[in-house]
Amino acid sequence: MTQLNRQSASPIKALALASAAAMVLVGCAAADEEQETVAPTASETQEPAAVGGNMVVGITVDPDTIFPWKATQFQAFRMLENVYDTLTAFDADLNVVPGLAESWEISADGTSITFDLRDGVTFADGSSFGSEDVKYSYEAIQDEENAAVARSTLGGVTSIETPDADTVVLNLATADVGLLANLTSVNLAIVSSDDTEESLSTATNGTGPFVLESRTAGQNVVLARNSSYWGNPTPLDTLEFRVLPDEAAIAAAMSAGNVQMAVFSDPITARTVSGGVTVNTTPQLSYHALMLNARNGSMTSTDVRLAISCAIDRQSVLDTALLGEGEVTGPITSPAFKSDPNARPCPERDLAKSAEYLAASGNAGGLEIDAIVAQDLYAGAVDIAQAVAAQLAEANITLNLEVLESGTYIDRWIAGDFETAIALNGGRPDPDGMYGRYFPSTGNLNQVSGYSSDSMDKLFADGKVEGDPAARKAIYDAVSKELEDNAVWVWLFSGYTYTATSDTITGFTPMTTGSWQYLRTTGLQ
């Protein structure tokens, strides 16, 4: 609950919202389909914005980098996604649509994707965009030395060919149905082959609708319209991301008319903004969970885990800790693959069943377990932990809360050094993106998830290559079922994002992924 850190860009929350932009629904990636040449635009029903003017968005910390491949922080993502482009993009409904690639063809076996790149695109410095820039960017991201965050996304790409300036071919080891969605993350931004990390750490050079005009540490980042942008020019002359250290200051600034837009982490602050302001409530893809480490101590017993899962009334925890602002979820929050929250051994809290499981595990007399909780990574962690502990206490299970400072919590989380953990994990539009690192035994976060099985490995392998949307959904439903039947974790709920926009601006559409890409269609009235 610490205020400062809560307000500053907590990496988890940042990643939760940001990385959701990295993956996509399968729907549009069927083989041999041609795509429309349409850049993401705001819905037709919005009034057209006036051209010109400056808009101010309030943020609580500065973007911590302007180099897209290393960005994980929420604010950095929000700024960079308007400055750089990716091969593919999302529209407001999370469909994959063309970005720098106008169209693409996937080979029959799915191991090769040929992209037809957009013509006449230039980088902000005037140099032309072509296939060599794509090859350069992707190969640099794959290079471990560069410590690019999205390296594993391109892990299955064995080679990149550039038959001509407008064509790029990605050759994959196996089919990867979610890849086109993954490519939308600004962590996979295409940069000019003439640029290096060094040059891009102090100035931007992207193909997006804005360019970086100035950056003053601790104060603001100012973007200006990119007049050579390939799509519809943005109405705004400049877009300022202004740093006001906490949400109360931002709310005050919005009330006074200094700031036109901001995202708040809790509904009360959002609603205290006075004057003509609209608050949009968007469900998040990230989810709160009680992670159970099935390789540790009493958690190795499935019965114990089921006892815990059955003892918790998730809606009640939501009501107590987050004032009911959210939705109870199952494991998968990706909209097209959403798990049914009731598809688990105890859809409602069932203390009798919990007691049965507990007895079956040999702990009829009660059980004591530890949970690590981060006190200053994201809002509500301690409140959630308390509420969960209160619920478990009624089931004869004592949850000892270890409230840790963020650095300590992160270290232990990464090492899987916990019995249970109260966590907020990121969600993505594609389920393979969401859990592909956690539950397959070869996933690089498997030591954190604490669980693996042969059936899980097979399911994920199948899900990665299955092209038929219905069949793919069935695979991930099976994943969800195994996760819930074995109470691998206790999935609690997803919260909301509160985007407040002043009535003096128009054309902005918030997205469930948390992306602010529609700032490019936003303008003053």
């Binding site: 990496p11 988890i12 990643l15 980098t65 540490a217 006074a256 994990n425 954190v448």
Partner: protein, 321 residues
Amino acid sequence: MRVLQSAVVKKAAGSLATLVGVAIFVFFMLRAIPGDAISASLGTEAAGLTEVQRKSLEEYYGLDQSLASQFFSWVGNLFQGNLGFSVRAQQSVLDLTAAALPVTFQLAVFAIILALAIGVPVGMLAASRVGKPRDVIGQALSLIGLSVPAFLLATTLLTFLAVNLGFNPNGLGYKTFFEDPVVNLQQMLLPSLVLGFGISAPIIRTTRAAVLDVSGQDFVRTAKAKGVSTRRLQFKHILRNALIPIVTMTGLQFGYLLGGAVVVEQIFSLPGVGRQVLTGIQQKEYALVQSTVLVIAAAFVIVNLLTDLLYRAIDPRVRAE
């Protein structure tokens, strides 16, 4: 004069030693905090790093060298005027501090001026009629100033003025005095009021006590007996001699303000050095915190030295030597 010189030199040498101590202390204390720049920026995402990636990031953040080498290269750089580099801001710590220090400095100066403007007259008034209403009120004012936390006052003012009167110059993005004097003064108004009010409390007390102390002394009674007018008495004789502890107290408060204004800077969105250190600690940017703390400590030490010089300059007993 020679006595003064050698005393000052001794003090200066001592201050230098103190700064070295501060440097060592902050260096090790920072590294004792769990987590590092990598976990601070990547959070749980750091779990997905491969060995090679992690090593590359450690190099990027300067974490790969041994403690001793990190310390000595930092100190070595300090002597060359290089305070280090902030990876997040992609700017040298020197540039960042050069931008932040004037903000805090301006705030501190305004706060001190306000504090003196309130504190000295109130203290003198209180001392002039001990035990009477004006004394009681003065002391009560001082008590309130000591007891009301700055963050409470700041919060209340900001919220009510912004929401009820639409007055929120601090939401406009900080402007330096040279960029936009009107906005700058508006932005400094509330924070200096808040801090000034808090500091006026010890100044009222010190003034009152010092004036009482001086008033009871022989030379004042002699002046009174000689028929010197009250006004002249107050200013020429009493105040000048009471100045010493007031000056000492003011210098002390000014030094504290340089680092202690962090909460007010936070609330009013002022990009000062206090905030710079706070953010640096959260983000585990060692070089930034080390150098900034050192700069603040150095400023504090310099202010103390200057106060000491001033004290010796105005203390008639010293001057008589």
